[in-house]
Every structure is written in structure tokens, then in C-alpha cells.
């Protein structure tokens, strides 16, 4: 894997440099090395020289799609609201995309936040990315000063320790259940195509929670969000969250209190997840961004499971299939509806 990542890094540098040199793109969005070993830095190269900083490794966990609408907009000539867009083609951006990121781009295109023609996508099959929290817990409170990645293993080291672990053990939870590692839209493929992934029980954790009783589920939920500081890193790391004014910030109407009242925090998390319903590709950026280690991905994962089961909908795989909440089926399941006409649920009946 070391070679896989270093080969990919070289290929990205080469392609990005070529794109910038030829003037095909005005900027290239990738990752640069961070100042601490466990975090990488999303990075925009605006000149061929800057592409030397680009890297690719298992800690590139921020979803780059998140940056695209803003980056593209910043490259357009400024205009007043309501003014028509300028004539002629607008500047393009080069970007790296894995499976989930590319699916987010598809959704952004469907929701008019991106124009496909303005992207040059270097597609990379995701080998599964690393969860820094898992590394930290492995280090047991010691500071990690270096990380080496190989095909099947990861080695962390610091003052007075060096630990080796199977890569699988430290992958992010979302990567462990990912079934679509390959980008769905791309202009050029970097690196090899990953074999099809068969995940035995992709929703095992969700089903485990579903099996609990309501009290235990509530206890789990409360504990999960207890330490939330409402910094909105989860929201801001999410490529689906691009409302000009988020419902949590809005004062007219004010759906959610502004502080860390447990109810307000809970409603924030419920609605944040709900707003991703049918759109979330389980990229895991929210969890990776959270400074407090909250596993808020489970909420969106539950919705993802329901969308699949109820509406047979997987977002971002096909640009032509509408997102599940923008359409309906005449025979959509309605077992939960009392007095539903088609099927009678356990609650129903006359």
C-alpha cells in the first residue's frame, strides 16, 4: 500500500501539474501534508509549482466535494444577485474523487450546486481510509509522531513506542461497510480498480441498535451526543450541507435553541441527519471532523438503510434518478400509517 499511495501521490502530482500548466483548470483541489501526523490538510493548488505539495494517503478523510461549490464560485467573476451568469465557459477545477465523494458530486449536480463541465475529476478507488481516533486509542494516550501505511497494515510510532496493526482494524466505520469504492463520475482514473466489495452485514450496527428497546436506544443516543459542543464541524464537513442559513443558525423561525441544551443538541442532530436523508453517501466526513468523537454517522446510516429498504434508493449512483424525497411511488410502503389503505400495519385496522 505504501507503494500504492506513493504511486497515486505521484500520479496526482503529475496530472494536477499538467492540468494547471495547460490552463485547463484554474485550480486543483487535493490534500497536503498536515502539521501533525494524524491529520491531512485539504489543499488548493493554484499554480503548477504548488502541485508538489499534493499527497495521497489513508488519512485524506475530508470530503473534497464539500469545497467544490464554494471554490467554483470564487473563480467566477463577481456578480450581483439576480444578474445573469457571464457568457462563455467558466473556469474549471481539478479534483480527486473516490466513490463516495463522486456520488456527492452527482448529488450536488442534481441539486444545481455544481456543473459537471466545470470539473476535471481524477477518480481513485478508495482503499478505505483510516480513523485517527482508532489510532489514538491504539496508542493509549501516547502521542503519535509517525504513521506508516502498508497494504495490509499500519504502523504508528512515537516517543518510546512502535505499534503495528492490521489496516482493517483502524479503518473508519463507514469504510468498513462501503460497497461502492469506485468513483461513479470521473475524467481520468488514477491507480488500480479495487475489487468489488461484498459487505456481509452492511447495517449490522444499525440493526443492533434497532433491536434495543426504546429506553436503551434513548440512553445510547443521549450518551452519543452528550459531549457535543455545537461547533458544527460535522455539518460543515458535509458536502450536502450548503444552505446559506442553516436551520440551527436561523432565528426566524428558530427551530432549535442556540446553546448546548440537551434537547436542542438532540434536535440539531436529528434534523441534520434528516436533512441528509436520501442524499448521504456515508463518506464519514462528519465523524472524521468531529473534535469530540461523536458517532453521528449512525443517524444518517439509519436513514440510508431505510431509503434503501423502503424506496430502493441509493443516492448519487445515477444522475438521472431523482433523490428519494423529491419523488414518490404510488405504492410506497405505508405500514406505519394508521388506516393506510393498501396494507394494514400492526397498528392499523378498523
Amino acid at each position: 500500500m505504501e507503494t500504492l499511495f506513493s504511486q497515486a501521490t505521484e500520479a496526482i502530482k503529475r496530472e494536477a501539474r499538467a492540468l494547471l500548466e495547460s490552463g485547463e483548470v484554474a485550480a486543483f483541489l487535493g490534500f497536503a501534508k498536515g502539521s501533525i501526523p494524524t491529520v491531512t490538510r485539504p489543499f488548493v493548488a493554484r499554480s503548477p509549482e504548488e502541485t508538489d505539495k499534493l499527497i495521497w494517503n489513508g488519512l485524506c478523510v475530508m470530503n473534497l466535494a464539500n469545497y467544490l461549490p464554494g471554490l467554483l464560485k470564487s473563480l467566477e467573476p463577481a456578480r450581483r444577485p439576480g444578474e445573469p451568469p457571464p457568457e462563455g465557459p467558466l473556469p474549471k477545477v481539478g479534483v480527486i474523487a473516490t466513490g463516495c465523494w463522486s456520488r456527492n458530486m452527482v448529488i450536488q449536480i442534481q441539486e444545481n450546486q455544481l456543473i459537471r463541465e466545470r470539473l476535471v475529476i481524477l477518480g481513485i478507488d478508495s482503499p478505505g481510509m483510516i480513523d485517527r481516533r482508532k489510532l489514538e486509542s491504539l496508542a493509549g494516550g501516547k502521542e503519535i509522531q509517525a504513521i506508516e501505511e502498508a497494504e495490509k497494515k499500519v504502523v504508528i510510532s512515537g516517543k518510546g513506542f512502535r505499534l503495528e496493526t492490521a489496516r482493517q482494524e483502524v479503518l473508519r466505520d463507514n469504510c468498513l461497510t462501503c460497497t461502492h469504492p469506485s468513483p461513479v463520475i470521473l475524467d481520468k482514473k488514477i491507480g488500480p480498480t479495487m475489487p468489488e466489495r461484498h459487505v456481509h452485514e452492511p447495517f449490522a450496527r444499525i440493526e443492533e441498535i434497532e433491536r434495543m428497546d426504546a429506553d436503551s436506544r434513548w440512553a445510547w443516543f443521549q450518551k452519543e451526543i452528550e459531549c457535543c459542543i455545537r461547533c458544527y464541524a460535522c455539518r460543515n464537513a458535509c458536502p450536502l450541507c450548503y444552505c446559506p442559513t442553516c436551520f440551527v443558525d436561523d432565528s426566524h423561525p428558530q427551530w432549535v435553541g442556540k446553546s448546548v441544551d440537551p434537547v436542542d443538541t438532540a434536535i440539531f442532530h436529528i434534523l441534520r441527519a434528516y436533512h441528509c436523508a436520501g442524499r448521504c453517501t456515508d463518506c464519514g466526513a462528519c465523524e472524521s471532523a468531529c473534535p469530540m468523537g461523536i458517532k453521528m454517522r449512525l443517524f444518517t446510516r439509519k436513514l440510508q438503510k431505510d431509503c434503501l429498504e423502503l424506496f430502493a434508493s441509493e443516492p448519487g449512483l445515477d444522475i438521472n434518478s431523482p433523490l428519494p424525497l423529491t419523488t414518490y411511488g404510488p405504492e410506497d410502503p405505508e405500514r406505519f400509517i394508521i388506516n393506510g389503505s393498501k396494507q394494514q400495519g400492526t397498528q392499523g385496522g378498523k
Binding site: 451568469p85 450546486q113 444552505c243 446559506p244 442559513t245 436551520f247 427551530w255 419523488t327
Partner: protein, 1033 residues
């Protein structure tokens, strides 16, 4: 054919009875019959500038439709979809609703009739009755309820049904104890809180002058008691379909629990017997097909299964031909079969008592020719439709000719006109038909009735004037709360004084008052005074339901110079005192809560604009076939300019290939006259070889770019782009088509008829294959016209050569309505009908230039080989290729078969969901000439409502986008059913077209950014109501 003399064409050959009416006709119309057809006709007329007298013989409008439980093929709740129309009708300023009334005589002529009306006494003063129901509760006299066909009971003082319009009680004079023996009872008079009972009420005779008349006389269900074999009347568990509707209905005698009459148990095995009183010349004397019974029986079977929530209900339908010939019907049939409804193709010859439990034994001949016996718990007779006897008498009285079946006689080219000029007909009185067809005809008759009255438009209608409204924007809320006692309806449960006192303490409330009847005229007047005197700027009324009374109180606000949207109601009667009768404390607390919620919400209400859209008085008609030309002429004749756009280089469309209608009228002569009128009409601007390129704007203000470079401004559009016949050039249904010169599709044979091809006489044998490629998975719909058309062609071939052998290979013969006559005649003329099914489709091949056909005869149970000289294929009518283009340009949807989709299957059959756009003809669904013409007129009528006005009202409670919050994701545009919200081309942000917005709020709930809200039903208002609800807890 002799029974049906072809309609005499006028000198211009267009089939329209031309007027000799005076130059200054009356501006009012008499509509007789308050069923769905009459109501629709009345609304269309009143909305397009004519004063309407609507005469209904019973105590409330609604007709047969109000008795139905669900309607096919959408399973819509009948009352739910009908009710709003009735309420609108009852409230319309320009509809004079006369219930308990009958037309006695009609004198004069078109343009100036005088009608004599007898209005029977109601014995209840409608101005005073508040429909509280106390009278009926106390009335001691119980009688069978005819609304439930006698299955349930009502009192001698009664409301016809819960949603009745007018919502006023009436006394049945034949049953009332007092009226029969004055002084004996009078209980209702004693308990009526508003003194509405008037035992001295007398019949009145009224003369009214009108310009034209519409007969919407409806039908009667066939009474099967004369058919002894059914046991109806003797066997309690044999019911008619109409009775079964009431048994299914939640408002019926068993409250929707589906019980059988004998023991009130839920039946587990139900049989439907089709064609009871239809297609039966021997016993029932009705040769015609009643058109609707197959569908309603399937619907009843499906709904019955839903009621019992289980697959263990057995439902069997015994039929002769399955006639599911309407839009989406075939799919409905397929689904019913898939869901387990069983269908038996046979006529049951007797229903016998099973000898135990009042069960029934059906004896019938099975598919295999053997006699079978089966036991059922309940048998439903799918009774046919017949002309109401009183209605027939009335028609005769008015000098209106009836056909041999006693229906009002019409003609193929004038489907809603009677023989008497100025008297039109619509609905089942002219031929058995379903609701959408009746509604279509109702609109068509409205057009026909008003066409010659156009000069008198708006001459007799009223328009209300209001004082100028005070601008309250900058004022702090000054809320007035009016708490109604509703006699004792509210006050007997709720402490209204306490509620009133409480209201005074609420923030913003400066005035609170308790009234005995807030809706009484004197209280209303006083309310207007109070608003002015106290300087109120917002009003809350705590009384009954806003669904009936909001308009009244809103009107009062306007009368007092306040915007009507600064108003809220607290429903403390229907949803409080009436439903918590034993809990006065809780009900009072709830009333306080409801008042507090209303006050919280009204605080944030804003004055809204009474939106209107100016109307460009021009129509665009797309397609110049019979439908398009008829629609264009219908509008142009009213003096309104029409732009008629046709893709081809000539007029006439599909009809140019037609020989004659099923009634026997030659088409080409008629068509030539129609084309000539179109070409010569000063108001019609014809664009041949032209298509639509782009459509902008919305109702009242469309701007359409045509391919010839012209740009048309128009207020409405009618889409009548027609359809084509499918030509099976390849595939399973090819049958030598295109490979043998004597293999034709139907219209190709018509062409030979038109040319009077002498070779036709020489044919010895002709085979017709019906459903060639129709009703199959790849084309699942039934094309409705082919059976009739093919049979008529066969009859014509027989006319040409009586010795010709003719074989019809069919799956179900669907000569619905009076078209059944042709089927009978074909059988009489020796035409041989051989049924096939999809497992044994006919085989066709060629040997040495000869056509060979083989089909398995189900009766002989062996293959039959035929060697026809000519093979005629009844192929599907298929939508035009460019339907997609039109659909995209006008943003109007199509169904899965790619026919255009109407706004509502039942009640808006010519409207698109998008306002201002209408459809007519085959692009909607296959249909014969008369139905096409009726639909074209209906489309013209609907368009005329808009075109008759300078400006049309638009919804005031519309969505509004806060641009700052919008991100342009487009979710709102996708969930809007009306295309009322679109992304702006420049800003890419959402923008609401208030002219198109209906205020449903789907976009509001869909918007993650809270960028869209609904005026006066905004998120913050709902939150205020929620929080107010919980405040006392």
C-alpha cells in the same frame, strides 16, 4: 339504423343548431338537476358570466355521486372530492340554488325562455337553520332513509346526508306527525334553538326568465325486483350495487363495516352479477350496455377486500364481456385480478337460497360448459342505469325528444344538444355514462347553452363591492375575539363565559364577546360595527368549523374595511363541544387552548393581496382535428380570438380517414363544413405547418413562440393534438400487415369505404382481429373505440355484400352504452364472433398469396381455420410522437401510456393540473367522435371561464421565497405539482409564480433551508400555535 335518423345538418354543415334567437338574449341559464353534471354545468356557467338557476327536486344537491363510497379507477373517496364542488355551488353569488323544486313548464324559445318552477315547502327556514341536528335527535318518527336506499333509518325531519348542500334540515311532509295531524307532535319546533321550524310553509310557483336550459336529469338505478331469477326483494342477502355502495360507505348504515343485511355479519364470499337490467332485451327491456357496471363491480370487489383487510374474502364477478374501456380501467382490472378477485365469464341463470344462514347458491355454466354451483354470503346485482321515469316525463313536458331507450336523443355531431333549440342535455340522461364523461358533457353543455348568450354575459350577474381596507401594517395587534354559544350546541358543554373572559387576558386581545349565534345576520352586522368602533385589526371567531363559516366571517371583515386574511377561527363546536359532551371541564379547557392558539396565530397574520392576473383574451388551440377545430370555433363564436396551430399542412386530422360515426352519420361532409367554418372564421388565426417551440408565462398570460417565428400572447391553451393508429409493421401482432395488400388496420378500410372501392363488394370472407396488439403488456390500455368501429365496418360490409362471411375474433366486445345496438345487429346479421384469449392468439400466415387464419374456438374447443379475402386488424390508438414535446413545452404531464394526464380523473377531465391549459380529443384517451366533440366543447367551456374575465383571481395564500435563504437546490420545484415554483434563469434561485401557486405548502416542507414559506401559514405561525397549545400544561 332506422331508429336513429342522422342529425340534419344545417346549411354550413357543422351540425350546430344555428340560432334564430333575438339579438338581446337573456344572460341567465336554467340548469335542471343538482347531481354532479348539473353542479358542474352551473359552476362553469356562473364562473363565465351567466346567472344560473339550479333546480333540484330533493332537499340537497349532490345526486347519485354523493351516495357512492369510492370512485374508480383511483379509489378516491366520492364525498371528499364532490363536497368542495357542492359547497362552491351553494355559496356562489351567481347561482340561485332551488332545492325541493321542479320545472313544470318551459315556454318561449332560445334566448328568451320562461320557466315555471314549483318549489315545495321545506318547513324549515333555511335562513335560521344552523344544522345543529337537535330537531332530528328529538324527532320521534323514524323512517327508512332513501339516501341509504332504505337500508338505514332517518327521522321525519332530516338532513339528506352529512355533507348536504344546503346544510339545512327539511321535514318530510309524508312522515311528519304534525303535518299529517297538526297539534300532535311539534317536538322539532319546541327544541329548535333558532326558531327555524315553520309548519305553515307553502308550495310556491315561480316564473323565471332564462336564455337557455340544461337538462342534467341523471339516471335511476335499474330496479331488479322484476327479475324473478335474482331473488331480489325475497332474499335479504341479494342487494343492488347502489345498496352495496352504502354498505361500504363510512357514512352509510353500517358505518363502513360492510355487513350483510340478514344478520349484520361481515360476508366472506361475495358475488357480483353483471348486466342486471342491461344488455337484456328479453326480461329487462334494456338492450343497451350501462357502461359503468363492470368498473364499479371491480371497484366494489377491490374496496370490499380492503375493508376486510385480508385475502380470505372471496370476491367473484360473473360477467359476459369485461368492459373496462376507459382511461386506466384496464390496469385496474389487471390489478384486481392480480389481487385475487375472480372473474367468471358467464351469465348466472338463477340465485337460489342455500337453505341455511340466508346464504345464496349460484348456478351457472362454467367456462368448460359444465353447470356449476357455488355458495355465497352476499350477492350484489350490478344493476344498470335507466332513465328516471319522472325525468322522462319532464323531458316530454318540455318538448324534448327521447330515443327508443328513453334517454334524451342527441346526435353524433351535437352530443349535448336536444331537438329543442336552446335546451341542452348532459350526463347519464342522454346515455349511460361514468362521472368524468358526465362532467365533460356538463362543461360542454354549459358552453352550448351560453354560446348564443355571449352578448348578455355579465348582464345578470352580481358583483360585490367592498369599502377600502384600512392599512393595519404598522398597528400593534388589536384583536377581537367572538365566542359563539351556537345556541346550546357549544354552550351546553363549554363554559363560554369563562372562555370569553379568558380570551380577554390574552396578549393583543382588546375585545372579547360571547354571542348566541355568531353567524346570524344581526351578529354579523354587529361584528362589523364592533370592528370599526373598537379599531380592531385582527379577529378570532371561536365557533364552528372554518370549512363552512370562514368565508362568511372573512366577508364581514371586508365589509368592515379589514383585510380578510387577518382572521382565524377556533373550532370549538365540531371539534370540541360536539365530541366531548360528557367532559365539560376538559372541553372548556380545550376551548381556551384553541382560542389561545388562534390568537397566537392571528397576531402574525398579515394582510394579503387579493391576487389577480390580467387575462389576455386570446386562446391558443394546438391541433386542428375535429377536437381542435370544435374547440376553436366554440371560443371564436363567442367573439374571442383564437390562434389555431396545426403541425400538418391541412385541417381535419385523424377524422379525414373516417367513414361514418357509430350512429351512422357520414363524417366527411361534416368535416368539410367544419374546416370551411374554421377557414372563414374572422376570429380564427390559422397557422398550418407550425409547431410550438417554447411556452412561457402562466394562466392569463402565456407567451408562446411558434416555429413560424410568430409569438402569441394568450390567456389559455387547449391541447388537441390527437393520436394515431398503431401500425403493426413488425413483431408478434404483425399479422401480415404491410406484407399482404388485403391486410388493413381499421382506418385503412374506412378509406376504402370513403372511396367507395368497388372491390369490397367482391369479398367473400372478411376476418377482423380485435385487440391486435392492444391490452397486452406492451400496450396495456384498451383503445375504447375499436370494437364499435370494427362491428360498424362489418355491418357496412354486409350492407355492401350481404353474402359476405364475416368473422370477428375478439377478447371482450366493448360496445358500451347504446353502441351495444350495433353488436346486437351484427349478431342478427350473421356475423360470427369467436373469442380468443392471450394464451391462444389467432395465427395468421400466407400461402400462395392467400391469407390463412387459425383461431381456437373456445366453445367448440378446437381450432378453426379461416381463409379470408381481407383481414382487418383493430390496432391500438397510440399517442402522437410529439406528445412528449408538447408535454415538455407546456409543462404538463402524461400517464404511463403517454396520454395526457388530467388534473383529476373524475372531476376535472379536461383540465391539466397546470392552470389555464386544457385538453380535448384523442390525446387525452381514445374516444369516438361524439365524445371528442363533447370534450372539445368542454375544454372550450373551461377556457371560456378564464377568457370571459378581465382578470382572474389567484390564490392569496401562496408560497413565498426568501431569496437570501435560498440555495437553488431545486427540491421545491420537484415537489410542486403545479410548476408554480421554478429556478430563476439568472439567479438560479427559486421563484414562485403566484398565479399558479395553490398554497399547498409541499415546497415549504421540502425546503431544508426554510427559504420557502406559506403566507399566513408560516413556520413561525405554526410554532406560535404549537407553543400556545402547550402553554397551560
Amino acid at each position: 339504423m332506422e331508429d336513429y335518423p342522422p342529425v340534419e345538418l344545417d346549411r354550413k354543415g357543422n351540425g350546430e343548431a344555428m340560432s334564430n334567437a333575438s339579438d338581446s338574449p337573456k344572460g341567465s341559464v336554467l340548469v335542471v338537476g343538482g347531481g354532479i353534471a348539473g353542479v358542474q354545468a352551473a359552476l362553469d356557467l356562473a364562473d363565465s358570466g351567466f346567472y344560473v338557476h339550479l333546480i333540484e327536486k330533493s332537499s340537497a344537491i349532490g345526486g347519485r355521486m354523493s351516495q357512492l363510497d369510492k370512485t374508480f379507477p383511483t379509489n378516491d373517496c366520492s364525498a371528499c372530492i364532490l363536497s368542495p364542488k357542492l359547497v362552491e355551488c351553494g355559496r356562489h353569488l351567481n347561482i340561485n340554488l332551488m332545492t325541493l323544486s321542479e320545472v313544470m313548464a318551459l315556454e318561449g324559445e332560445e334566448g328568451a325562455f320562461t320557466a315555471t318552477i314549483r318549489q315545495n315547502p321545506r318547513y324549515v327556514d333555511p335562513a335560521k337553520c344552523i344544522a345543529c341536528g337537535t330537531c332530528a335527535e328529538k324527532c320521534p318518527k323514524k323512517v327508512p332513509n332513501e339516501f341509504d336506499l332504505g337500508l338505514g333509518k332517518r327521522k321525519a325531519i332530516y338532513l339528506k346526508y352529512p355533507q348536504a348542500v344546503p346544510l339545512k334540515y327539511a321535514i318530510d311532509p309524508d312522515q311528519c306527525i304534525w303535518l299529517r295531524r297538526p297539534g300532535r307532535c311539534g317536538m322539532c319546533q319546541k327544541v329548535c334553538p333558532s326558531g327555524a321550524i315553520n309548519f305553515d310553509d307553502q308550495p310556491r310557483q315561480i316564473h323565471i326568465e332564462v336564455g337557455s336550459v340544461i337538462l342534467a336529469l341523471g339516471f335511476s338505478p335499474f330496479d331488479p325486483s322484476i327479475l324473478d331469477f335474482t331473488g331480489y326483494g325475497r332474499l335479504p342477502n341479494v342487494v343492488t350495487a347502489m345498496e352495496f355502495e352504502r354498505l361500504l360507505s363510512p357514512s352509510g348504515p353500517c358505518l363502513g363495516h360492510m355487513e350483510r343485511p340478514s344478520d349484520h355479519k361481515e360476508p366472506r364470499r361475495i358475488a357480483w352479477l353483471q348486466c342486471v337490467g342491461s344488455r337484456d332485451i328479453n326480461r329487462a327491456c334494456h338492450g343497451y350496455c350501462s357502461s359503468v357496471c363492470c368498473m364499479y363491480a371491480i371497484k366494489q370487489a377491490v374496496i370490499a377486500r380492503e375493508h376486510t383487510q385480508g385475502p380470505d374474502l372471496s370476491t367473484s364477478i360473473f360477467f359476459m364481456d369485461m368492459r373496462t374501456h376507459g382511461k386506466e380501467f384496464e390496469t385496474y382490472y389487471d390489478r384486481a385480478r392480480a389481487e385475487g378477485v375472480s372473474f367468471h365469464r358467464c351469465r348466472v341463470h338463477s340465485i337460489l337460497p342455500a337453505g341455511h344462514d340466508d346464504n345464496l347458491l349460484l348456478r351457472y355454466v362454467g367456462d368448460d360448459g359444465r353447470i356449476k354451483q357455488e355458495e355465497f354470503d352476499l350477492v350484489v346485482l350490478s344493476v344498470g342505469l335507466e332513465m328516471d321515469k319522472q325525468a322522462a316525463e319532464l323531458a316530454r313536458r318540455l318538448g324534448v325528444e327521447l330515443d327508443p331507450n328513453n334517454f334524451v336523443a342527441t346526435g353524433a355531431f351535437r352530443p349535448v344538444s336536444t331537438n329543442r333549440p336552446g335546451v341542452c342535455v348532459c350526463g347519464a340522461a342522454a346515455e349511460p355514462k361514468d362521472i368524468p364523461q358526465s362532467v365533460m358533457e356538463a362543461s360542454a353543455s354549459a358552453l352550448e347553452a351560453s354560446r348564443l348568450l355571449a352578448p348578455a354575459r355579465w348582464s345578470e350577474t352580481q358583483k360585490k363591492e367592498y369599502p377600502e381596507e384600512r392599512n393595519v401594517w404598522a398597528e400593534p395587534p388589536r384583536i377581537g375575539v367572538f365566542v359563539c354559544s351556537c345556541g346550546i350546541n357549544i354552550a351546553s358543554v363549554i363554559d363560554v363565559a369563562a372562555v370569553t373572559d379568558y380570551a380577554r387576558t390574552l396578549p393583543g386581545v382588546v375585545f372579547a364577546q360571547n354571542n348566541l349565534f355568531t353567524c346570524s345576520q344581526d351578529t354579523i352586522n354587529q361584528m362589523a360595527e364592533t370592528i370599526k368602533r373598537e379599531g380592531l385589526n385582527r379577529v378570532v371567531v371561536a365557533s364552528c368549523t372554518p370549512r363552512t363559516h370562514e368565508p362568511l366571517f372573512q366577508e364581514t371583515l371586508r365589509d368592515a374595511g379589514i383585510n380578510k386574511f387577518l382572521f382565524e377561527m377556533a373550532n370549538i363546536r365540531d371539534q370540541d363541544s360536539w365530541v366531548h359532551q360528557g367532559f365539560p371541564d376538559e372541553a372548556t379547557q380545550k376551548a381556551k387552548d384553541l382560542v389561545r392558539m388562534a390568537v397566537a396565530k392571528v397576531q402574525q397574520d398579515e394582510a394579503l393581496a387579493y391576487n389577480t392576473v390580467p387575462v389576455v383574451k386570446r386562446a391558443l388551440v394546438l391541433g386542428a382535428g375535429v377536437a381542435g377545430m370544435t374547440a376553436a370555433l366554440s371560443i371564436a363564436d363567442q367573439g374571442i380570438p383564437v390562434v389555431l396551430v396545426e403541425r400538418k399542412d391541412r385541417l381535419g386530422g385523424h377524422a379525414r380517414k373516417f367513414y361514418r360515426t357509430w350512429q351512422g352519420d357520414l363524417v366527411q361532409g361534416y368535416l368539410a363544413g367544419l374546416c370551411q367554418r374554421v377557414e372563414e372564421h374572422p376570429q380564427i388565426d390559422l397557422h398550418l405547418e407550425t409547431t410550438v417551440e417554447k411556452v412561457e408565462g402562466s394562466v392569463g398570460q402565456f407567451e408562446t413562440h411558434l416555429s413560424d417565428g410568430s409569438k402569441v400572447l394568450h390567456g389559455t391553451a387547449i391541447i388537441a393534438i390527437g393520436a394515431g393508429s398503431h401500425k403493426p409493421r413488425e413483431g408478434r401482432w404483425n399479422y401480415l400487415y404491410g406484407r399482404h395488400p388485403e391486410v388493413h388496420v381499421l382506418l385503412e378500410l374506412d378509406k376504402r369505404f370513403i372511396k367507395e372501392d368497388p372491390a369490397l363488394k367482391e369479398k367473400n370472407q372478411t376476418v377482423f382481429i380485435l385487440c391486435a396488439g392492444s391490452r397486452v403488456p406492451e400496450k396495456p390500455y384498451c383503445s375504447r373505440v375499436c370494437c364499435t368501429h370494427a362491428i360498424d365496418q362489418a355491418l357496412h360490409l354486409k350492407e355492401l355484400n350481404p353474402n359476405m362471411e364475416i368473422f370477428m375474433l375478439y377478447r371482450d366486445i366493448r360496445t358500451y352504452g347504446e353502441k351495444e345496438r350495433l353488436y346486437q345487429k351484427a349478431r342478427e346479421n350473421g356475423i360470427v364472433f369467436i373469442r380468443y384469449d392471450l394464451d391462444n392468439v389467432p395465427k395468421v400466415w400466407e400461402e400462395q398469396g392467400n391469407i390463412h387464419v387459425e383461431v381456437k374456438d373456445p366453445i367448440l374447443d378446437r381450432p378453426v381455420r379461416l381463409h379470408p379475402d381481407m383481414l382487418v386488424l383493430a390496432t391500438a390508438v397510440r399517442p402522437k410522437i410529439d406528445a412528449d414535446v408538447v408535454s415538455r413545452a407546456f409543462k404538463c404531464s402524461m400517464n404511463s401510456d403517454r396520454f395526457f394526464l388530467e388534473a383529476h380523473m373524475k372531476l376535472r377531465p379536461v383540465d391539466f393540473a397546470t392552470d389555464g391549459i386544457f385538453m380535448a380529443g384523442l390525446c387525452h384517451y381514445p374516444k369516438p367522435m361524439d365524445e371528442t366533440i363533447a370534450q372539445a366543447k368542454a375544454a372550450a367551456a373551461r377556457a371560456s371561464i378564464i377568457l370571459a374575465q378581465d382578470a382572474i383571481p389567484a390564490e392569496s395564500i401562496t408560497a413565498v421565497v426568501e431569496q437570501r435563504k435560498c440555495v437553488g437546490c431545486g427540491v421545491c420545484t420537484m415537489v410542486c405539482a403545479y410548476n408554480a415554483i421554478q429556478l430563476d434563469e439568472n439567479s438560479s434561485l427559486a421563484r414562485v409564480d403566484t398565479a399558479m401557486c395553490k398554497g399547498c405548502g409541499a415546497c415549504v416542507a421540502g425546503c431544508r433551508s426554510d427559504a420557502v414559506t406559506l403566507k399566513n401559514i408560516g413556520n413561525e405561525q405554526i410554532m406560535a400555535a404549537i407553543e400556545a397549545t402547550m402553554e397551560t400544561y
